[in-house]
Symmetry: C2
């Protein structure tokens, strides 16, 4: 892909030249806005002070929310790590991007079968083609063969771990054996034992934004916190010492990475780039209730469910955007939106072409960002991870206020489902906590949503088969 300079841009350039401005000053004044997409990890639906949490101290996440737009009904594309990331980067449902489940570490998948197919077009590729310098700082978890690693998927620069999570001090991957070191700069393994991964990431983000660049930057900062291991700064453990243990550990980690984000915001402000940078923040899905996460320190508020399941607590996430030049401040939007929408949203702001726009599932959020009363840009949303041919995996489809769940389960173990609930219909306008299956009372709605899912799923099966 080549960068194409728009005709009007040439005109502006000539005018500015005639006005006597130096080429560098010109190029800077014409520079597109920078982009910083920050992805949290396993953060609960309401786990930011700005989202109503009363026990969490998150002034920097709150700052992004308060100086921009915060969404109350924003969905991760999937309740699982790799699929959620694939969707964010491609603006497609993960199945449509042919990334069906979590990516296995290379020693479990020596033929590198899993991972995001390289012919999928990532956000990094889109902005790189438009002249951006692109970087991933943090977590990858989208494939391990050289061409499926970040440098093969549009990122000029990569600093972080390949496999999905690490100990933040040793940078070892512990979640499957063998216990291995996993810290890379581009494709080179590097050693920084003892240094807190959060601090290393902050330094990398600062360095990448500090360079005296001709071109704007696009940074995908995939923070991998508060994902276990809960390794918050001991000062925050002290601060939260009166909370129950799992919440204390989780909260300390949240505040630790909130501080990291604050350091970057301050840095951007100091270098004069803050208001030239579109900042997006989102969690990759709901909080974890795994044993490694002390069975759950996060909170989904009034909702049910958590990481791995299709209930709201698994997929409804904190999400916000700050860019004073085009996004209002102190604004809240209740329309449903999805992480697949960020790419078209950012592309609309920056005037960037999306080469495969007709193939993506996401929609620009600018209409609802600009108008609190605009309708959601999605009439229908789909969720499904795992094998589309499976008849037991969970899935969901939402149309307006109706949400149909297939094979629902609750990873928080609060809701239980019987055999009659394999198709579980909810009226979100009356029951956003998903406690009542109204399938029997609404056979026509059930039929309509089931057909929406079945038709879509059939396409996904075809795509899967074509991909084999």
């Amino acid at each position: 892909m080549q960068t194409q300079v728009k005709p009007w841009l040439n005109l502006v350039l000539i005018t500015l030249l005639l006005m006597g401005l130096q080429p560098k000053a010109i190029s800077q004044s014409l520079k597109k806005p920078n982009i910083l997409v920050i992805l949290g990890d396993d953060q609960g639906t309401v786990d930011t002070h700005a989202y109503g949490s009363t026990d969490l101290h998150t002034p920097n996440l709150d700052r992004i929310a308060n100086e921009g737009v915060r969404f109350t009904q924003f969905y991760a594309a999937a309740p699982v790590c790799s699929p959620s990331r694939a969707s964010l980067l491609t603006a497609k449902y993960n199945q449509n991007a042919r990334l069906f489940g979590n990516v296995s570490p290379p020693h479990s998948d020596p033929e590198y079968k899993s991972g995001l197919p390289t012919d999928e077009i990532t956000m990094a590729e889109v902005f790189k083609a438009d002249g951006y310098e692109t970087a991933l700082i943090g977590k990858w978890h989208l494939g391990h063969s050289p061409e499926k690693l970040p440098n093969g998927q549009g990122f000029d620069y990569f600093f972080g771990h390949q496999r999905g999570c690490i100990d933040n001090y040793s940078h070892f991957f512990f979640w499957h054996g063998p216990n291995m070191h996993d810290l890379y700069q581009n494709e080179e393994e590097i050693y920084r034992p003892g240094e807190f991964f959060g601090d290393l990431m902050v330094d990398e983000v600062k360095k990448f934004t500090a360079k005296d660049k001709e071109d704007p930057f696009f940074i995908y900062w995939a923070i991998n916190m508060p994902h276990y291991p809960y390794q918050g700064d001991p000062k925050w453990l002290e601060y939260y010492k009166d909370l129950p243990e799992s919440r204390q550990l989780y909260a300390a980690f949240i505040s630790t990475y909130d501080e990291m984000i604050g350091e970057v915001l301050d840095h951007l402000e100091a270098t004069g780039e803050l208001d030239n940078t579109i900042i997006v923040y989102q969690s990759d899905h709901g909080h974890s209730t795994e044993e490694r996460a002390y069975f759950g320190g996060g909170s989904n508020g009034i909702y049910h469910g958590a990481k791995f399941c299709m209930l709201e607590g698994g997929i409804r996430v904190p999400a916000m955007i700050r860019y004073p030049k085009a996004v209002p401040a102190m604004a809240v939007r209740n329309q449903m939106a999805n992480s697949i929408d960020w790419l078209p949203t950012l592309a609309e702001i920056t005037g960037t072409d999306i080469p495969n726009k007709e193939e993506i599932d996401g929609k620009s959020l600018m209409p609802i960002i600009n108008d609190i009363n605009a309708p959601s840009q999605h009439e229908v949303l789909h969720w499904a991870t795992g094998d589309p041919e499976s008849t037991t995996d969970s899935w969901a489809v939402r149309k307006g206020n109706w949400k149909l769940l297939g094979n629902p389960w609750d990873s928080e173990k609060e809701l239980t489902f019987g055999d009659e609930d394999k198709l579980y219909l909810v009226d979100m306008s009356k029951d956003s906590t998903e406690t009542t299956n109204v399938a029997k009372q609404n056979p026509e709605i059930l039929k309509e949503l089931l057909k929406l899912h079945t038709d879509w799923n059939q396409e996904m099966i075809q795509l899967k088969l074509a991909n084999q």
Copy 2:
């Protein structure tokens, strides 16, 4: 237990007082030798340069060996962590010490049922009663209720982890969920994130030996290396870069902790305490072939087996003692010996009473240390971990050159055993690699060793039942 001053000691004291020496100088000149027991973890049978390894650089372990006595046929009391440690500390077979298997972390055993019973007398209690200041630096893994933690078992001071292994930079316990921080000073959880646990231990050992003490010190330094995670210094990874990956990682960790030991030796030399200190070194059992250990970077030389099994590679370990005042230098001993022997050996050198001497299984090694031709102090040795009532757990008994294994298996997966090998008799004088079952050819020997085991095991069952 009370320290009893021996009558001759009073006489010496009075004589010295009459000579005009100050009380402090007197007490120092009368001070018993210090004791430093260093326990490696998952180190392979021959994995020291002094043991014939050609690829490992271990100058400091070699120094202990060369300046003291090195044993070629030294056995861990068990091929598993907690039982091996229980035996070392009590001088009893682990079953006799009523520690049957590995100790569970507290969240898996909330009633603290597992652990070393508090009425067992540990090495720390024995030396403390004789006026020693006692410390455990490193790994515990012998119980988690307050009275079963180190301070409850005779150690004046504890610095390290309770659960058995940690990440060396974050000090998190990762081997069972939840992922939790595990670093303590006595019973207080302390935070030193980012600091290499090896360096912390070296500092603690130095501090404990540097204090201007009235009394001698007894330190049990349980290093927990090269136990996974393999986190050797990157400079050693570079040094060993031409070795296969698992060996490279393992070797780098060995050399890292060899340097740690060197730092302590240098410190003791600089403070003038080196030759006043009895130094014992041993691995807790054979090398690991677990996935977390890259399926095995260690070496058992010509032997078979590894951690968890009763073949020589699981239980035959590097072991040495240095104490120039009573132990010859540059000496090698081939008599079979066992980690249960250290307590009586040390007690003989220091003239310390062992209050339950008639109950322990260990024997002083001084006769063989003093005489290369002395017979092994053990006519018979037993090994068994797990439930003594089990009919499928592995066990072994050795009498002279004969070794009988029950339910043998090879954690290295090199030897295979058929149904007829459930009783597996080996003549160690002809077949130290345990490749041939000669049970059929030696029915009388088989009968004799089987009875030795059965009688002993019956005692262990009674002990277990009495303990319930």
